[in-house]
Assembly symmetry: C2
Homo-oligomer: 164 residues x 2
């Protein structure tokens, strides 16, 4: 899965700035810092992993970031649709789907249990089905969570010897 990662980060950041302007919400330095940490690779990180990196980045500062700092930034980024949570492992990753500025989409995450990489897809067709199914018993949908755990192509290759 080779892609131009620098460009992909740049695009995401530009999008993030645009969305926050459109929505009149403030993408403050701290929030931006957390987003950048998550953009650094296509992996989901736990809140305390993010905290560690945040601390590493702010050694010069007078203050040491604390858990609420991370959770607040994550709340903001989740709200903006810039980050998604992997509910099945309490971790967070930057949204990489190209999307319009209204922003929030339903993510379908494919999480590699070996390397932690997250491949993200949109799930429009499946979500439509789900809404239809919900309607049959009068259920009003607020949020859809779709996660798929397994092994990415890369890790399968690396572990071929297990099956030889």
């Amino acid at each position: 899965m080779s892609h131009n990662h620098k460009k992909c980060i740049k695009t995401s950041l530009e999008f993030a700035h645009k969305v926050s302007q459109d929505k009149a919400m403030r993408l403050t330095p701290q929030r931006l810092q957390v987003l950048k940490i998550l953009l650094d690779d296509h992996k989901a990180l736990g809140a305390y992993e993010i905290l560690e990196r945040l601390r590493d980045m702010n050694l010069a500062s007078q203050t040491t970031p604390q858990p609420p700092t991370v959770y607040r930034a994550l709340d903001f980024l989740l709200e903006m649709g810039l980050v998604h949570k992997v509910e099945s492992q309490n971790s967070y990753y930057a949204c990489m789907i190209e999307r319009s500025a209204d922003g929030v989409h339903i993510a379908q995450a494919f999480i590699c249990e070996s390397c932690g990489a997250v491949e993200e897809k949109t799930a429009e067709a499946s979500v439509k089905k789900l809404y239809e199914k919900a309607a049959t018993f009068g259920f009003e949908v607020n949020q859809v969570i779709m996660e798929c755990r397994g092994f990415c192509a890369n890790c399968q290759k690396q572990n071929e010897f297990f099956y030889e």
Copy 2:
């Protein structure tokens, strides 16, 4: 959603006994107790809620159940496919889908954010699609999580006055 709840519990318990015999796994009194707590209503309960109820049920006993007791029972019941976890709220509910003795199916949970009720459906068609999608980029699926959060028909009715 009226149904014969006693019968539904009875069926589930019979099924549980059968499955554990088929798989040569032990549905011990403790595990059964946890299953019964979850069968008591069609709600997802947190591990510590289960613990409380377990304690209430065992006041006479010399020992007071501790968290590992609950988590061990849950691990067993999850493994057997008798219980599912709601990943988006760290809670657990008894599987109510009629199923063959090979047991494990992919659950699609519709969770009411007002009353906590869980409506469970099978998700075969969606899961098939998901596998196909995964195959397109060489992803090997181990586990699928599909959760739908919102309001059940009943709670919508009760809250109609909000919208008047």
